[in-house]
């Protein structure tokens, strides 16, 4: 466990590194003197403007954030609901995977963006967002779940087998607890990729609301201040979600040792 002092120190250094990054950006933007590289003051002004006035269509920043959050959650939840059970099933019955991998594996390598035309002709409205985000989040969740089952320690299985444990008991008490941390990692990676897909998804969703849409709108106008605000918001929300995830993980998996690579 980190001491309180150590925690304060890491907060301090994180703030310091943000400050250093801001200084570098300011110097760069002062040197360029170009509308493409707005100063921090201009970015801040764009941020305040987006909150108080809204964007060029009068849609406020929080409506954009909210819209994107719902889409992310829909796609991500679908990815979890499908990816985890499917990964578990294919891990427990490897034949299922071995006999279908020729169809599963190639799909994994098709970038979500390449699916855009297909999504446009196949789907409408909200399902387009959900589909594209699902595509991004599904495979990391599915693959890590699948692989984690094969890494269950056979010794732990034997411990309960000697006592005559049935297969259902082995799955509930040994396999599931042992794969949960890996599934959580897969979910964390999946969530990251879900956010990476948001701009692509909102490119084709048709509605004028969403953080990705916001960026696209101002890209057409070449107004970098608002674009940077949109980028930072995606980054910050992703960061907050990841932190929440880590805190929950630490709570649930109390039994895991704290590994330190200091």
């Amino acid at each position: 466990m980190e001491g309180r002092k150590e925690q304060l120190k890491s907060v301090f250094y994180n703030l310091l590194s943000i400050a250093v990054a801001a200084v570098f950006w300011s110097l760069f933007s002062a040197w360029q003197q170009s509308p493409f590289f707005p100063s921090i003051a201009q970015i801040w002004k764009a941020f305040i403007g987006l909150i108080t006035v809204g964007d060029i269509e009068g849609i406020g920043l929080f409506s954009h954030i909210w819209a994107s959050l719902i889409r992310i959650f829909a796609g991500f939840a679908a990815a979890c609901v499908l990816g985890i059970p499917l990964g578990l099933a294919m891990g427990l019955w490897p034949k299922l995977y071995k006999r279908t991998r020729a169809i599963i594996e190639p799909i994994r390598f098709i970038p979500p963006i390449a699916w855009i035309p297909m999504a446009i002709v196949m789907l409408v409205g909200f399902s387009r967002y959900a589909f594209l985000i699902w595509l991004g989040a599904f495979f990391p969740i599915f693959i890590t779940t699948l692989l984690s089952v094969t890494r269950v320690n056979p010794l732990h299985v034997n411990v309960v087998k000697v006592f005559g444990a049935k297969r259902s008991y082995i799955i509930r008490k040994i396999v599931i607890p042992s794969v949960l941390p890996d599934i959580a990692t897969g979910m964390r990676v999946g969530l990251g990729i879900a956010w990476m897909c948001i701009v692509a998804a909102e490119m084709i969703g048709g509605e004028m609301v969403g953080i990705g849409r916001l960026i696209l709108k101002y890209a057409e106008l070449i107004r970098m201040g608002e674009i940077i605000v949109g980028m930072l918001i995606i980054g910050v929300i992703g960061f907050i979600m990841n932190e929440i995830f880590i805190i929950i993980e630490a709570r649930i998996f109390r039994w895991r040792s704290e590994v330190s690579i200091d």
Binding site: V159, G164, P177
Partner: protein, 246 residues
């Protein structure tokens, strides 16, 4: 005599490799049978087959005339590797066998606390494996094996990973527990001193493919003195037996 509990008559091969060849012996009720053999001679395979989690290629292991089966028989196995389940607290780990066998949780907990006390770990019931030492983990494994009150307790080099001092203390401990709660034990080791110290009978295995080479009943009174001349003599004899190249 009702002294007959387990009959073993097996051979085991993995593919073309013969590991165990015509291993034939019996285990008597309440005896402390020690099987010694050089490292890599298939002792763990033998332990797994005895416990019913692995099958033999030829022949079978029977308990009171019935083929061994973890679903039917009450067997425990202490593994060579540290085997605590990382997500179980000590009490959950020790009572896991009881829960599988359908004992209600109240009785299981009571018995769990009893055996934890027996191996000297009271106060650590709610600790996770990562919070305790290697020697303590091995005691947990022993407590878990004891908790179900097994008809046959198999120990596969249970002290192999421990340092010499802990090992010595554990040997004394296991003897004390065995004398307290009489059990039928099959103890597998490559340490001959340990074998002579613990056993009421010793079987010596050869190198691969393992066969039984010799059998020694040990009648020294307990607790045994490691430096007793007769003890040392027997230890030396078994050592030569173990290392003769055929």
């Amino acid at each position: 005599m009702d002294s007959h509990l387990v009959d073993v008559n097996i051979s085991k091969s993995f593919g073309k490799m013969d590991v165990l060849r015509d291993i034939k012996f019996d285990v008597k009720l309440n005896e402390f049978l020690v099987i010694v053999g050089p490292t890599g001679c298939g002792k763990t395979t033998l332990a797994n087959i005895l416990s019913g989690i692995e099958t033999s290629t030829v022949g079978s292991v029977t308990m009171r005339g019935e083929k061994i089966n973890p679903h039917k028989h009450n067997i425990s196995l202490v593994f060579q590797e540290p085997s605590c389940i990382p997500w179980y607290t000590m009490l959950q780990d020790v009572t896991s066998g009881l829960c599988i066998k359908g004992v209600d949780s109240k009785t299981a907990d009571a018995r769990g606390r009893e055996v934890i006390k027996l191996v000297g770990l009271e106060g650590y019931e709610d600790f996770f494996p990562r919070q305790i030492s290697g020697g303590m983990k091995q005691r947990v494994a022993i407590a878990r094996a004891y908790a179900t009150n097994p008809d046959l307790l198999i120990m596969d080099e249970p002290f192999g990973h421990l340092d010499a001092q802990t090992r010595y203390l554990m040997q004394i401990e296991i003897m004390r527990i065995w004398e307290q709660e009489k059990k039928t034990v099959v103890f597998i080791t490559n340490n001959i001193e340990e074998a002579v110290y613990l056993a009421s009978r010793i079987l010596v295995l050869t190198k691969l493919p393992a066969t039984i080479k010799a059998e020694y009943p040990i009648t020294f009174p307990r607790p045994r003195e490691l430096t007793d001349p007769a003890f040392l003599e027997l230890r030396a004899e078994i050592t030569t037996q173990c290392e003769i190249v055929e």
